[in-house]
Protein backbone atom coordinates (compact mmCIF):
# COMPACT_ATOMS: atom_id res chain seq x y z
CA UNK A 1 0.00 0.00 0.00
CA UNK A 2 1.56 3.30 -1.10
CA UNK A 3 1.03 6.57 0.72
CA UNK A 4 2.18 10.06 -0.12
CA UNK A 5 3.14 11.66 3.17
CA UNK A 6 2.93 15.44 2.93
CA UNK A 7 5.16 17.20 5.43
CA UNK A 8 3.38 20.37 6.52
CA UNK A 9 4.96 23.34 8.23
CA UNK A 10 2.62 25.13 10.60
CA UNK A 11 3.98 28.27 12.29
CA UNK A 12 1.35 28.07 15.07
CA UNK A 13 2.18 24.46 15.90
CA UNK A 14 5.92 25.23 15.70
CA UNK A 15 5.52 28.06 18.22
CA UNK A 16 3.55 25.84 20.61
CA UNK A 17 5.80 22.77 20.25
CA UNK A 18 7.86 21.59 23.20
CA UNK A 19 10.91 19.58 22.16
CA UNK A 20 11.11 16.18 23.88
CA UNK A 21 14.20 14.21 24.71
CA UNK A 22 13.12 11.17 22.67
CA UNK A 23 12.24 13.15 19.50
CA UNK A 24 14.02 11.72 16.48
CA UNK A 25 16.18 13.85 14.19
CA UNK A 26 15.40 13.69 10.48
CA UNK A 27 18.56 11.57 10.02
CA UNK A 28 17.34 9.01 12.55
CA UNK A 29 13.93 8.92 10.88
CA UNK A 30 15.46 8.48 7.41
CA UNK A 31 17.77 5.71 8.66
CA UNK A 32 14.84 3.87 10.20
CA UNK A 33 12.57 3.93 7.12
CA UNK A 34 15.51 3.11 4.82
CA UNK A 35 16.57 0.14 6.95
CA UNK A 36 13.02 -1.22 6.93
CA UNK A 37 12.49 -0.48 3.23
CA UNK A 38 9.44 1.67 3.91
CA UNK A 39 10.42 4.83 1.98
CA UNK A 40 10.48 4.83 -1.81
CA UNK A 41 11.53 8.43 -2.27
CA UNK A 42 10.95 11.90 -0.92
CA UNK A 43 12.43 15.36 -0.63
CA UNK A 44 12.32 18.62 1.14
CA UNK A 45 10.65 21.37 -0.95
CA UNK A 46 11.56 25.03 -1.54
CA UNK A 47 9.28 27.60 0.13
CA UNK A 48 6.03 28.65 -1.50
CA UNK A 49 7.65 31.93 -2.55
CA UNK A 50 9.50 29.80 -5.13
CA UNK A 51 6.29 28.11 -6.34
CA UNK A 52 4.81 28.59 -9.81
CA UNK A 53 1.18 27.82 -10.62
CA UNK A 54 0.30 26.72 -14.16
CA UNK A 55 -3.22 26.62 -15.60
CA UNK A 56 -4.69 26.43 -19.10
CA UNK A 57 -7.96 28.28 -19.54
CA UNK A 58 -9.74 28.28 -22.94
CA UNK A 59 -6.51 27.35 -24.63
CA UNK A 60 -4.67 30.17 -22.89
CA UNK A 61 -1.66 29.33 -20.74
CA UNK A 62 -1.75 31.11 -17.41
CA UNK A 63 1.44 31.11 -15.37
CA UNK A 64 1.48 32.81 -12.03
CA UNK A 65 3.85 33.28 -9.14
CA UNK A 66 3.13 31.56 -5.84
CA UNK A 67 1.10 28.61 -4.60
CA UNK A 68 -2.51 28.01 -5.69
CA UNK A 69 -3.76 28.49 -2.16
CA UNK A 70 -2.29 30.98 0.24
CA UNK A 71 -2.27 29.76 3.81
CA UNK A 72 -0.14 29.91 6.89
CA UNK A 73 0.50 26.21 6.58
CA UNK A 74 2.57 25.02 3.65
CA UNK A 75 3.91 21.76 2.29
CA UNK A 76 7.63 21.75 3.02
CA UNK A 77 8.38 18.19 1.93
CA UNK A 78 7.01 14.82 0.94
CA UNK A 79 7.79 11.12 1.25
CA UNK A 80 6.41 8.18 -0.66
CA UNK A 81 5.92 5.34 1.81
CA UNK A 82 5.26 1.67 1.16
CA UNK A 83 3.39 0.26 4.18
CA UNK A 84 1.33 -2.79 5.07
CA UNK A 85 -1.59 -0.67 6.23
CA UNK A 86 -2.61 2.72 7.62
CA UNK A 87 -1.56 1.86 11.18
CA UNK A 88 2.01 1.27 10.01
CA UNK A 89 1.99 4.56 8.07
CA UNK A 90 0.64 6.39 11.14
CA UNK A 91 3.41 4.94 13.31
CA UNK A 92 6.05 6.06 10.77
CA UNK A 93 4.53 9.53 10.49
CA UNK A 94 4.39 9.84 14.29
CA UNK A 95 8.19 9.44 14.53
CA UNK A 96 8.89 12.13 11.89
CA UNK A 97 10.44 15.26 13.47
CA UNK A 98 7.71 17.44 11.94
CA UNK A 99 5.01 15.53 13.89
CA UNK A 100 5.92 17.71 16.88
CA UNK A 101 5.80 21.28 15.59
CA UNK A 102 4.18 20.60 12.22
CA UNK A 103 1.82 18.07 10.68
CA UNK A 104 1.92 15.05 8.44
CA UNK A 105 -0.85 14.21 6.01
CA UNK A 106 -1.12 10.64 4.72
CA UNK A 107 -2.71 10.31 1.29
CA UNK A 108 -3.19 6.79 -0.05
CA UNK A 109 -2.33 6.28 -3.73
CA UNK A 110 -5.34 5.90 -5.99
CA UNK A 111 -6.04 2.31 -6.93
CA UNK A 112 -8.44 1.24 -9.67
CA UNK A 113 -9.65 -1.85 -7.83
CA UNK A 114 -11.76 0.02 -5.32
Amino acid sequence: MKYMMLVIADPDAAAAAEPRADDWTIEQWLDDVARRGKRITGSQLCPTSDATTVQVSRGQLLVSDGPFVESKEWICGFDILECDDLDEAIAIAARHPQANGGKLELRPFWTDEV
Binding site: M1, C83, D84, D85, L86, D87, I90, L106, P108, W110, T111, E113, V114
Partner: protein, 411 residues
Protein backbone atom coordinates in the same frame (compact mmCIF):
# COMPACT_ATOMS: atom_id res chain seq x y z
CA UNK B 1 -38.55 -28.62 13.85
CA UNK B 2 -41.32 -26.57 15.36
CA UNK B 3 -42.91 -23.47 14.04
CA UNK B 4 -41.23 -20.41 15.49
CA UNK B 5 -42.74 -17.12 16.48
CA UNK B 6 -41.65 -14.00 14.62
CA UNK B 7 -40.24 -12.59 17.87
CA UNK B 8 -38.06 -15.66 18.44
CA UNK B 9 -36.79 -15.44 14.87
CA UNK B 10 -35.99 -11.74 15.31
CA UNK B 11 -34.11 -12.35 18.56
CA UNK B 12 -32.08 -15.21 17.10
CA UNK B 13 -31.21 -13.23 14.00
CA UNK B 14 -30.20 -10.16 16.04
CA UNK B 15 -27.95 -12.26 18.25
CA UNK B 16 -26.07 -13.87 15.35
CA UNK B 17 -25.94 -11.07 12.77
CA UNK B 18 -22.85 -9.10 13.82
CA UNK B 19 -20.59 -12.16 14.06
CA UNK B 20 -21.53 -13.31 10.57
CA UNK B 21 -21.12 -9.86 9.00
CA UNK B 22 -17.78 -9.50 10.80
CA UNK B 23 -16.60 -12.87 9.51
CA UNK B 24 -17.64 -12.18 5.92
CA UNK B 25 -15.87 -8.81 5.97
CA UNK B 26 -12.68 -10.59 7.02
CA UNK B 27 -13.07 -13.14 4.23
CA UNK B 28 -14.08 -10.82 1.38
CA UNK B 29 -12.59 -7.50 2.50
CA UNK B 30 -15.76 -5.99 1.03
CA UNK B 31 -18.05 -4.36 3.62
CA UNK B 32 -21.01 -3.74 1.35
CA UNK B 33 -20.94 -7.26 -0.09
CA UNK B 34 -20.75 -8.74 3.42
CA UNK B 35 -23.68 -6.71 4.69
CA UNK B 36 -25.82 -7.38 1.61
CA UNK B 37 -25.24 -11.14 1.72
CA UNK B 38 -26.02 -11.38 5.43
CA UNK B 39 -29.14 -9.27 4.83
CA UNK B 40 -30.23 -11.73 2.11
CA UNK B 41 -29.65 -14.66 4.47
CA UNK B 42 -31.69 -12.92 7.18
CA UNK B 43 -34.57 -12.27 4.79
CA UNK B 44 -34.61 -15.95 3.84
CA UNK B 45 -34.60 -16.90 7.51
CA UNK B 46 -37.52 -14.59 8.22
CA UNK B 47 -39.51 -16.34 5.48
CA UNK B 48 -38.44 -19.90 6.23
CA UNK B 49 -38.01 -20.17 10.00
CA UNK B 50 -41.54 -19.22 11.06
CA UNK B 51 -42.79 -22.09 8.84
CA UNK B 52 -40.06 -24.66 9.44
CA UNK B 53 -38.77 -23.70 12.87
CA UNK B 54 -35.45 -22.23 13.96
CA UNK B 55 -32.57 -24.55 12.96
CA UNK B 56 -30.51 -26.14 15.70
CA UNK B 57 -27.56 -23.90 14.86
CA UNK B 58 -29.03 -20.65 13.52
CA UNK B 59 -25.53 -19.15 13.17
CA UNK B 60 -24.36 -22.02 10.95
CA UNK B 61 -27.53 -21.80 8.83
CA UNK B 62 -27.19 -18.04 8.31
CA UNK B 63 -23.45 -18.28 7.66
CA UNK B 64 -23.89 -21.00 5.03
CA UNK B 65 -26.59 -19.06 3.20
CA UNK B 66 -24.61 -15.81 3.35
CA UNK B 67 -21.41 -17.52 2.16
CA UNK B 68 -23.15 -19.11 -0.80
CA UNK B 69 -24.68 -15.80 -1.69
CA UNK B 70 -21.26 -14.11 -1.52
CA UNK B 71 -19.74 -16.83 -3.74
CA UNK B 72 -22.54 -16.34 -6.30
CA UNK B 73 -21.99 -12.59 -6.45
CA UNK B 74 -18.21 -12.95 -6.70
CA UNK B 75 -18.43 -15.61 -9.47
CA UNK B 76 -20.49 -13.21 -11.52
CA UNK B 77 -17.97 -10.39 -11.04
CA UNK B 78 -15.11 -12.58 -12.37
CA UNK B 79 -11.79 -10.83 -11.94
CA UNK B 80 -8.45 -11.53 -10.27
CA UNK B 81 -9.45 -10.06 -6.97
CA UNK B 82 -12.72 -11.97 -6.74
CA UNK B 83 -10.86 -15.27 -7.29
CA UNK B 84 -8.87 -14.62 -4.13
CA UNK B 85 -12.02 -13.68 -2.24
CA UNK B 86 -13.80 -16.85 -3.40
CA UNK B 87 -10.84 -18.93 -2.29
CA UNK B 88 -10.87 -17.30 1.14
CA UNK B 89 -14.57 -18.08 1.56
CA UNK B 90 -14.21 -21.70 0.45
CA UNK B 91 -11.18 -22.41 2.63
CA UNK B 92 -12.83 -21.08 5.78
CA UNK B 93 -14.04 -23.97 7.96
CA UNK B 94 -17.75 -24.05 8.75
CA UNK B 95 -17.25 -23.96 12.46
CA UNK B 96 -14.27 -22.72 14.39
CA UNK B 97 -12.71 -25.63 16.23
CA UNK B 98 -10.68 -25.57 19.40
CA UNK B 99 -10.93 -23.28 22.38
CA UNK B 100 -12.58 -19.98 21.59
CA UNK B 101 -10.19 -17.04 21.85
CA UNK B 102 -12.22 -13.85 22.27
CA UNK B 103 -9.35 -11.73 20.94
CA UNK B 104 -9.68 -13.54 17.63
CA UNK B 105 -13.44 -12.92 17.53
CA UNK B 106 -14.32 -11.22 14.27
CA UNK B 107 -16.80 -8.94 16.06
CA UNK B 108 -13.93 -7.38 18.00
CA UNK B 109 -12.07 -6.72 14.73
CA UNK B 110 -15.22 -5.15 13.37
CA UNK B 111 -15.74 -2.86 16.38
CA UNK B 112 -12.13 -1.65 16.44
CA UNK B 113 -12.13 -1.00 12.70
CA UNK B 114 -15.42 0.94 12.83
CA UNK B 115 -13.93 3.09 15.61
CA UNK B 116 -10.50 3.70 14.00
CA UNK B 117 -9.25 7.23 14.81
CA UNK B 118 -8.68 7.96 11.08
CA UNK B 119 -12.49 7.90 10.65
CA UNK B 120 -14.38 11.05 11.68
CA UNK B 121 -16.28 10.61 14.96
CA UNK B 122 -19.75 11.04 13.40
CA UNK B 123 -18.92 8.43 10.80
CA UNK B 124 -17.60 6.02 13.44
CA UNK B 125 -20.93 6.31 15.22
CA UNK B 126 -22.92 5.74 12.01
CA UNK B 127 -20.81 2.79 10.85
CA UNK B 128 -20.89 1.11 14.28
CA UNK B 129 -24.68 1.43 14.39
CA UNK B 130 -24.97 0.05 10.87
CA UNK B 131 -22.55 -2.89 10.88
CA UNK B 132 -22.13 -3.87 14.53
CA UNK B 133 -25.60 -3.02 15.86
CA UNK B 134 -27.33 -3.90 12.58
CA UNK B 135 -29.66 -0.87 12.56
CA UNK B 136 -31.20 0.13 9.24
CA UNK B 137 -30.18 3.40 7.55
CA UNK B 138 -33.73 4.67 8.20
CA UNK B 139 -33.40 4.04 11.95
CA UNK B 140 -29.92 5.57 12.16
CA UNK B 141 -30.86 8.64 10.11
CA UNK B 142 -33.87 9.27 12.33
CA UNK B 143 -31.86 8.86 15.53
CA UNK B 144 -28.98 11.07 14.39
CA UNK B 145 -31.31 13.68 12.87
CA UNK B 146 -29.85 13.54 9.36
CA UNK B 147 -31.54 12.67 6.09
CA UNK B 148 -31.34 9.09 4.91
CA UNK B 149 -29.49 10.04 1.73
CA UNK B 150 -26.89 12.03 3.70
CA UNK B 151 -26.39 9.06 5.99
CA UNK B 152 -26.06 6.57 3.12
CA UNK B 153 -23.49 8.84 1.45
CA UNK B 154 -21.52 9.08 4.68
CA UNK B 155 -21.57 5.32 5.20
CA UNK B 156 -20.44 4.74 1.63
CA UNK B 157 -17.58 7.25 1.90
CA UNK B 158 -16.49 5.74 5.21
CA UNK B 159 -16.32 2.24 3.74
CA UNK B 160 -14.38 3.66 0.79
CA UNK B 161 -11.92 5.28 3.16
CA UNK B 162 -11.39 2.00 5.01
CA UNK B 163 -10.59 0.32 1.69
CA UNK B 164 -8.60 3.14 0.05
CA UNK B 165 -6.53 4.11 3.07
CA UNK B 166 -6.00 0.44 4.03
CA UNK B 167 -7.31 0.76 7.57
CA UNK B 168 -6.44 -2.70 8.94
CA UNK B 169 -9.25 -5.08 9.92
CA UNK B 170 -7.90 -6.17 13.26
CA UNK B 171 -7.81 -5.80 17.00
CA UNK B 172 -4.93 -3.35 17.59
CA UNK B 173 -1.70 -4.80 19.02
CA UNK B 174 -0.93 -4.28 22.73
CA UNK B 175 1.02 -1.05 22.29
CA UNK B 176 -1.99 0.60 20.59
CA UNK B 177 -4.76 -1.11 22.54
CA UNK B 178 -5.19 1.37 25.41
CA UNK B 179 -5.39 4.36 23.09
CA UNK B 180 -7.74 2.68 20.60
CA UNK B 181 -9.91 1.31 23.38
CA UNK B 182 -10.52 4.88 24.49
CA UNK B 183 -11.82 5.63 20.99
CA UNK B 184 -14.18 2.65 21.00
CA UNK B 185 -15.61 3.53 24.42
CA UNK B 186 -16.09 7.15 23.32
CA UNK B 187 -18.16 6.00 20.34
CA UNK B 188 -20.34 3.73 22.50
CA UNK B 189 -20.88 6.46 25.10
CA UNK B 190 -21.74 8.97 22.39
CA UNK B 191 -24.33 6.54 20.98
CA UNK B 192 -25.72 6.17 24.50
CA UNK B 193 -25.94 9.91 25.10
CA UNK B 194 -27.56 10.55 21.76
CA UNK B 195 -30.30 8.08 22.72
CA UNK B 196 -30.53 9.09 26.37
CA UNK B 197 -31.46 12.70 25.62
CA UNK B 198 -34.58 11.64 23.73
CA UNK B 199 -37.79 10.00 24.98
CA UNK B 200 -37.26 7.26 22.39
CA UNK B 201 -34.13 5.76 23.92
CA UNK B 202 -33.60 3.19 21.20
CA UNK B 203 -29.94 4.19 20.77
CA UNK B 204 -29.32 4.13 24.52
CA UNK B 205 -30.51 0.52 24.71
CA UNK B 206 -28.41 -0.27 21.65
CA UNK B 207 -25.34 1.26 23.37
CA UNK B 208 -25.98 -0.99 26.37
CA UNK B 209 -26.18 -4.04 24.12
CA UNK B 210 -22.92 -3.06 22.37
CA UNK B 211 -21.12 -2.41 25.68
CA UNK B 212 -22.27 -5.71 27.03
CA UNK B 213 -20.98 -7.43 23.88
CA UNK B 214 -17.63 -5.71 24.41
CA UNK B 215 -17.56 -6.88 28.05
CA UNK B 216 -18.22 -10.41 26.87
CA UNK B 217 -15.32 -10.15 24.39
CA UNK B 218 -12.90 -8.33 26.73
CA UNK B 219 -13.98 -9.37 30.25
CA UNK B 220 -10.77 -8.18 31.91
CA UNK B 221 -10.81 -4.61 30.64
CA UNK B 222 -11.98 -2.57 33.66
CA UNK B 223 -13.00 0.50 31.70
CA UNK B 224 -15.19 -1.52 29.33
CA UNK B 225 -17.08 -2.99 32.27
CA UNK B 226 -17.20 0.45 33.93
CA UNK B 227 -18.86 1.88 30.81
CA UNK B 228 -21.46 -0.90 30.93
CA UNK B 229 -22.01 -0.10 34.63
CA UNK B 230 -22.42 3.59 33.83
CA UNK B 231 -24.91 2.98 31.01
CA UNK B 232 -26.88 0.41 33.02
CA UNK B 233 -27.14 2.70 36.05
CA UNK B 234 -28.31 5.63 33.92
CA UNK B 235 -30.87 3.48 32.11
CA UNK B 236 -32.39 2.45 35.46
CA UNK B 237 -34.13 5.86 35.44
CA UNK B 238 -35.60 5.50 31.97
CA UNK B 239 -39.20 5.09 33.16
CA UNK B 240 -39.19 8.43 34.97
CA UNK B 241 -36.97 10.73 32.93
CA UNK B 242 -39.71 11.82 30.54
CA UNK B 243 -43.39 12.51 31.17
CA UNK B 244 -46.30 11.42 28.99
CA UNK B 245 -45.80 14.41 26.70
CA UNK B 246 -42.15 13.50 26.13
CA UNK B 247 -40.88 16.33 28.30
CA UNK B 248 -37.83 15.98 30.57
CA UNK B 249 -38.55 15.47 34.26
CA UNK B 250 -35.77 16.84 36.52
CA UNK B 251 -34.28 14.22 38.85
CA UNK B 252 -35.85 15.82 41.96
CA UNK B 253 -39.32 15.43 40.48
CA UNK B 254 -38.82 11.82 39.39
CA UNK B 255 -40.67 9.08 41.26
CA UNK B 256 -37.74 7.05 42.55
CA UNK B 257 -39.96 4.06 43.30
CA UNK B 258 -40.20 3.58 39.53
CA UNK B 259 -36.45 3.34 39.05
CA UNK B 260 -35.47 -0.11 37.82
CA UNK B 261 -34.03 -1.96 40.84
CA UNK B 262 -32.78 -4.84 38.71
CA UNK B 263 -30.77 -2.47 36.48
CA UNK B 264 -29.38 -0.61 39.51
CA UNK B 265 -28.23 -3.92 41.04
CA UNK B 266 -26.74 -5.04 37.75
CA UNK B 267 -24.96 -1.73 37.24
CA UNK B 268 -23.52 -1.83 40.76
CA UNK B 269 -22.36 -5.41 40.27
CA UNK B 270 -20.50 -4.42 37.08
CA UNK B 271 -19.03 -1.46 38.95
CA UNK B 272 -17.87 -3.75 41.75
CA UNK B 273 -16.18 -6.08 39.27
CA UNK B 274 -14.62 -3.13 37.41
CA UNK B 275 -13.12 -2.00 40.72
CA UNK B 276 -11.98 -5.42 41.94
CA UNK B 277 -8.62 -5.35 40.13
CA UNK B 278 -7.53 -2.36 42.25
CA UNK B 279 -6.06 -0.66 39.19
CA UNK B 280 -6.28 3.15 39.34
CA UNK B 281 -9.74 4.34 38.29
CA UNK B 282 -10.33 5.42 34.71
CA UNK B 283 -12.83 8.09 33.64
CA UNK B 284 -15.70 5.63 33.06
CA UNK B 285 -15.34 4.03 36.47
CA UNK B 286 -15.44 7.47 38.13
CA UNK B 287 -18.53 8.45 36.15
CA UNK B 288 -20.18 5.12 37.00
CA UNK B 289 -19.45 5.75 40.68
CA UNK B 290 -21.13 9.16 40.40
CA UNK B 291 -24.13 7.53 38.68
CA UNK B 292 -24.28 4.93 41.48
CA UNK B 293 -24.41 7.73 44.11
CA UNK B 294 -27.47 9.18 42.36
CA UNK B 295 -29.13 5.82 41.70
CA UNK B 296 -28.98 4.70 45.34
CA UNK B 297 -29.91 7.97 47.09
CA UNK B 298 -33.46 8.34 48.38
CA UNK B 299 -33.74 12.03 47.38
CA UNK B 300 -31.62 15.02 46.30
CA UNK B 301 -31.13 16.10 49.91
CA UNK B 302 -29.57 12.82 51.03
CA UNK B 303 -27.52 12.37 47.86
CA UNK B 304 -23.86 12.06 48.99
CA UNK B 305 -22.73 15.33 47.39
CA UNK B 306 -19.34 15.34 49.19
CA UNK B 307 -18.48 11.98 47.64
CA UNK B 308 -19.69 13.21 44.26
CA UNK B 309 -17.48 16.33 44.43
CA UNK B 310 -14.49 14.14 45.34
CA UNK B 311 -15.24 11.88 42.38
CA UNK B 312 -15.44 14.90 40.05
CA UNK B 313 -12.06 16.06 41.42
CA UNK B 314 -10.58 12.69 40.47
CA UNK B 315 -12.31 12.82 37.09
CA UNK B 316 -10.74 16.21 36.40
CA UNK B 317 -7.32 14.63 36.91
CA UNK B 318 -8.12 11.58 34.72
CA UNK B 319 -9.85 13.52 31.96
CA UNK B 320 -9.70 17.31 32.35
CA UNK B 321 -12.60 19.03 30.58
CA UNK B 322 -14.65 22.21 31.05
CA UNK B 323 -17.89 20.17 31.11
CA UNK B 324 -16.60 18.17 34.08
CA UNK B 325 -15.63 21.47 35.79
CA UNK B 326 -19.23 22.58 35.23
CA UNK B 327 -20.71 19.41 36.72
CA UNK B 328 -18.34 19.70 39.67
CA UNK B 329 -19.52 23.29 40.26
CA UNK B 330 -23.14 22.10 40.28
CA UNK B 331 -22.31 19.36 42.79
CA UNK B 332 -20.59 21.94 45.02
CA UNK B 333 -23.78 24.04 44.90
CA UNK B 334 -25.72 21.09 46.31
CA UNK B 335 -23.04 20.32 48.90
CA UNK B 336 -22.27 23.84 50.17
CA UNK B 337 -25.35 25.83 49.20
CA UNK B 338 -26.62 27.45 46.01
CA UNK B 339 -24.68 30.66 46.64
CA UNK B 340 -21.43 28.69 46.77
CA UNK B 341 -22.53 26.94 43.55
CA UNK B 342 -23.00 30.29 41.83
CA UNK B 343 -19.51 31.38 42.91
CA UNK B 344 -18.09 28.16 41.41
CA UNK B 345 -20.00 28.73 38.15
CA UNK B 346 -18.72 32.33 37.94
CA UNK B 347 -15.16 31.04 38.28
CA UNK B 348 -15.47 28.84 35.15
CA UNK B 349 -13.73 30.04 32.02
CA UNK B 350 -16.50 31.26 29.71
CA UNK B 351 -14.14 31.33 26.71
CA UNK B 352 -13.47 27.58 26.97
CA UNK B 353 -15.56 24.99 25.14
CA UNK B 354 -18.35 26.03 27.53
CA UNK B 355 -18.92 29.15 25.40
CA UNK B 356 -22.27 28.71 23.69
CA UNK B 357 -23.08 25.60 25.77
CA UNK B 358 -26.60 25.83 27.20
CA UNK B 359 -25.80 23.96 30.42
CA UNK B 360 -23.70 26.79 31.86
CA UNK B 361 -26.52 29.43 31.85
CA UNK B 362 -29.03 26.65 32.69
CA UNK B 363 -27.08 25.74 35.84
CA UNK B 364 -26.81 29.43 36.80
CA UNK B 365 -30.54 29.88 36.20
CA UNK B 366 -31.30 26.86 38.38
CA UNK B 367 -29.29 28.15 41.36
CA UNK B 368 -30.76 31.68 40.95
CA UNK B 369 -34.28 30.24 40.90
CA UNK B 370 -33.61 28.28 44.08
CA UNK B 371 -32.31 31.49 45.68
CA UNK B 372 -35.54 33.26 44.57
CA UNK B 373 -33.56 35.76 42.47
CA UNK B 374 -36.24 35.52 39.81
CA UNK B 375 -35.25 38.37 37.47
CA UNK B 376 -31.70 37.11 37.11
CA UNK B 377 -32.95 33.54 36.84
CA UNK B 378 -35.31 34.50 34.03
CA UNK B 379 -32.52 36.15 32.03
CA UNK B 380 -30.29 33.11 32.50
CA UNK B 381 -33.10 30.72 31.44
CA UNK B 382 -33.66 32.85 28.32
CA UNK B 383 -29.99 32.58 27.39
CA UNK B 384 -29.96 28.84 28.07
CA UNK B 385 -33.12 28.21 26.04
CA UNK B 386 -31.64 30.11 23.11
CA UNK B 387 -28.48 27.95 23.20
CA UNK B 388 -30.16 24.56 23.79
CA UNK B 389 -30.71 22.23 20.79
CA UNK B 390 -33.74 23.62 18.91
CA UNK B 391 -37.03 21.93 19.81
CA UNK B 392 -35.19 19.37 21.93
CA UNK B 393 -36.45 18.16 25.32
CA UNK B 394 -33.81 20.31 27.09
CA UNK B 395 -35.17 23.46 25.47
CA UNK B 396 -38.76 22.57 26.40
CA UNK B 397 -37.78 22.12 30.05
CA UNK B 398 -36.01 25.50 30.10
CA UNK B 399 -39.06 27.19 28.55
CA UNK B 400 -41.29 25.52 31.14
CA UNK B 401 -39.13 26.95 33.95
CA UNK B 402 -39.32 30.34 32.28
CA UNK B 403 -43.13 30.19 32.17
CA UNK B 404 -43.24 29.14 35.82
CA UNK B 405 -41.14 32.17 36.77
CA UNK B 406 -43.14 34.57 34.63
CA UNK B 407 -46.62 33.39 35.57
CA UNK B 408 -48.20 35.12 38.58
CA UNK B 409 -47.49 32.89 41.55
CA UNK B 410 -50.53 31.36 43.10
CA UNK B 411 -50.09 30.48 46.72
Amino acid sequence: MHRATAAAVDTTVAAERAAIVARLIRLTNDWTLAEDCVQDAIERALLQWPREGIPRSPAAWLTTVARHRALDVLRRRQNEQTKLQQLAIMQEPDVTLGPHDPMSDDRLRLIFTCCHPAIALDNRVALTLKTVAGLSTTEIARALLVSESTLSQRLLRTKQKIANAAIPYRVPPDELLAERMGGVLAVLYLIFNEGYRQPDDHLATEARRLSSLLVELMPNEDEVRALLALITLQLSRRATRFDQAGDLVPIEEQDRRLWDEALIDEGREHLRRATASRRPPGPYRLQAQIAACHATATDTRTTPWSTIVTLYDALLVAQPSPVIMLNRAIAIGFRDGYRAGLVELEALDPTSSLAGYYLLPAARADFLRRLHRHDEARRAYETAARLAPADGPEQRLLRRRLTELTAPREM
